[in-house]
Amino acid sequence: MPNKPDQLSETLLAEHRPVLFRYALLQLRDNELADDAVQETLLAAWQSAANFAGKAGLRTWLIGILKHKIADHWRRSNREVVTTDFDQIDNQDGEADEEAFFMNNGHWNAGPTTWNDPEAALKQQEFWTIYETCQNNLPPKMAKVFMLRELVGLEAEEVCRETGLSEANYWVTMHRARLRLRECLEIRWFNQSKAKKEKRHA
């Protein structure tokens, strides 16, 4: 067993496994392939531990390796990359849409109504279809930022590093993403089920 720097232990690497898996899964859309890519990444990280500069950026370093493994996979399978590439960021989409949510004085234009029993929605298959639609309806760049934060579970600063977004832009993007998702879920799910119930009671 070769000597490894003590800062990089198997346990430390394993801690990042869930995040790496979710990252890989979003791009590869296949459990087994994602799992393989993560295995290869952890193995490569372990073997080249000496190249690792500092504890702080461990996850960033691991994601860097993972990206290579994912790229290798596409190359091997000779396929066009069809899934989301988090590196390619299209700028300036959805610039003005915040205006639609608020009036000039900053007050809500319409605005959030109360949702009836949101927890119950999580147990219904139809809800997930709606959720997916709403998430897919976000402008591409916004969707990437949102997914890296909420689905993969990266920290805000890691998302910025991944996407090349400034901190200020990150806050604006996430604010808009949440406003949009919220509105979409309200229109397509929560108000719908309310309407259905009212019909039943009528």
Binding site: F102, P112, L151, R178, R182
Partner: protein, 66 residues
Amino acid sequence: MRSCRDITALVSQGLDKKLSFSERLAIKVHVMMCSRCRNFQSQSQFIRKAAQGYSEQLRNRLDKKS
């Protein structure tokens, strides 16, 4: 007095970093009086939960496929 636009921006930031005491206080006072922003607050927390659930869903769905 901060507007609903500003307050929801702060609420959103609060999900991704630790806010200052005065920012947290501003949110607290505002949502006490504003049901729409209160809804936004609970709904963005719900969306976080849904996003994590979606990750699981995706995994299960792909499991069944293979």
